[in-house]
Symmetry: C2
Subunit: 371 residues, 2 copies
């Protein structure tokens, strides 16, 4: 904290009233604070309305910020003593994490100083700290992490959740994921009436685990009031399809699917590179197709879809990939700004509250009618 106000770069941001303040855990990433600050600089240059509160090693952050002219006067630095490591157990961080850059970054959202917090750190620890500092939304049992998935849809993305907040999800959790996913697709992707699908091993109604069959009915029943369309069960091959906008699943399955897709894309990129390096003619062809191939590479670049959003908390937290570079960090910041601008957090809370009330009313009525 001693570092506050020591340099122009560390002043509390005092931009216009429409400034969007993003709280950034600058220490969590594999590439260190330099990559995080570089990503902030890219975003600051692109969008003059963003300001940052950076949490971490004050001396190091001041040095990094001083080197980026676009960050002058737009960053406040909060010095912290320690860092959550990638292998730290969430339960340990919950008890002893005060004083870490991650904890401090979440507290800026808790205190209302920032609209969104971003961290590249340990996912489990970030969720644990977010849960105890921001608390779950009234009516939410398990928060979820939603990610954007490259797809055949017009805007190029589908939403998938949960991709790893919790390894379990029962039928009620899956219904809540459908509602939260609807809210995210509406505010993050601008879809008025998102199409929701429930991930399963087949599209027939008799397939899959027991909780999926119940969730299938719960989500279908919630569709009219929730103002979304329910397309029923979808399979792994449908995740990037244009017949659905939001794919709902438990965090175990979602995490495996996400990493499998990233692994597959990585393998094909490697095969493609070696195919083009195979012969002199193919090397010339690769040069000729350079622009087209770069466009392709951009479409499937995981850095461009960086940012898992924690849903179901009192406040928005964005988890960036641990290995994110400046491009990846800038993508996560852009997503955070979109969500802050659409007042996503308040809208999501309102949606969950209204459906929770409606379900309580419905079950009250059932109770009364069976008396």
């Amino acid at each position: 904290m001693a570092a506050e106000g020591a340099l122009p770069a560390t002043r509390t941001p005092t931009l216009g009233s429409d400034t969007i303040v993003i709280s950034v855990d600058a220490m969590g990433g594999d590439l260190g604070p330099a990559a995080v600050v570089a990503g902030c600089a890219v975003s600051a240059q692109r969008n003059p309305r963003i300001a940052f509160i950076l949490h971490g090693d004050a001396a190091e952050l001041e040095r990094q910020v001083a080197r980026k002219k676009h960050l002058t006067g737009r960053c406040e630095i909060r010095g912290t003593d320690s860092v959550v490591t990638m292998d730290a157990k969430p339960s340990y961080v919950m008890r002893h994490g005060k004083g870490t850059s991650m904890w401090s970054a979440i507290d800026s959202v808790r205190n209302g100083e920032a609209e969104v917090a971003i961290s590249c750190g340990n996912t489990g620890a970030l969720m644990a700290v977010s849960m105890i500092r921001l608390r779950k939304l009234e009516g939410i049992n398990r928060p979820a992490i939603a990610c954007l998935w490259p797809s055949r849809n017009a805007d190029g993305f589908n939403v998938m959740l949960d991709v790893g907040a919790d390894i379990r999800a029962d039928e009620d959790d899956l219904l809540q994921y459908a509602l939260m996913g609807t809210s995210y697709a509406r505010n993050g992707l601008g879809l008025v009436r998102p199409r929701i699908g429930l991930l399963n091993v087949g599209t027939e109604e008799h397939k899959g685990r027991a909780e999926l069959k119940v969730a299938n009915e719960l989500i279908a029943a919630a569709a009219p009031a929730g103002e979304f369309d329910y397309v029923g069960f979808v399979e792994g091959g449908d995740i990037p399809s244009d017949r659905v906008d939001v794919i709902v699943t438990d965090g175990f399955t979602g995490n495996i699917a996400l990493k499998t897709a990233e692994g597959t894309a990585g393998l094909i990129r490697e095969f493609l590179r070696s195919a083009f390096a195979a012969t002199p003619l193919s090397r010339i062809a690769a040069m000729m197709a350079f622009t087209s191939l770069r466009r392709l590479s951009k479409r499937i670049d995981p850095r461009r879809v960086n940012g898992g959003v924690f849903l179901g908390l009192n406040g928005t937290v964005v988890k960036s990939h641990g290995s994110a570079d400046a491009t990846g960090i800038a993508a996560a910041i852009k997503l955070s700004v979109n969500l802050a601008e659409s007042k996503f957090s308040e809208r999501l809370a309102a949606r969950v509250a209204s459906v929770t009330l409606a379900r309580q009313d419905a079950s009250d009525q059932v109770t009364e009618s069976t008396k």
Copy 2:
């Protein structure tokens, strides 16, 4: 049955004593018997030791076989009256499936007339019929479906199981999958000492569901006697990696991962095609890189890895993709022949029996020592 012996093509195959007889459900595929018979002809041309028993509409099959000179004298046709549809419930097919081409194809393995059965039909029904006609191996609780997965390994493939035989698997099932996967990798891929990994959402030992933590210990303990190396937990991104040869998971997760990978590869193929069609220059480049791109396309072509093998039954059954064309069918036949040649079915049974005995001995000893 009336059609038997009516034409040269329908004679019981009478090749040399080293002939490998494959039983083929010719009716199950989306493209009909013509595609299946065409696939058989491709295989017959490549390998003079293969003969077929084809099950299905006798008149139609005789017509198709008569058009393929490589099949002359190498096919026996078994006329059947009905077909298992893609949406048939497994429980219904178990009770009423007698007389279908699928049932008849499995019975040829049961009766010892053929070494392997192949079907493009409904997976659930095929597993159900295989279970009641072939019965589970002694010591196996849940059979599994194993598939080949394109990978960075020298031979180009990893093995993954279960990819959809059963949506559940407890710790004992996962141990059995590790043993069966070892046997498959040894006989199907020729790996002397396969490396086994257990799919989870992280590689740390404290992560994942309860049954995964127990399975992690069981598989590690079985490694020395089972003559495989256990690499511990692996993540979705490791499935195509060269740090593992066999990936063990439950059938729900495995099926989602497989279809997600296929969907991702399909999306990238589309993006690649549109990237090369984007400009006149990129179209010329595509022509120049034609050979290299075709090699790439072959490496990620799902038809080339067609064939899920049912493990844990008294006999080998290969499930081909429903949409398989002649190339896909030929790949499934090639896989079947490899497995038949290595006496896979007997070796797998011996392996499971020896480990089951060892576990029984171990638990008997525990029981005795605690007396």
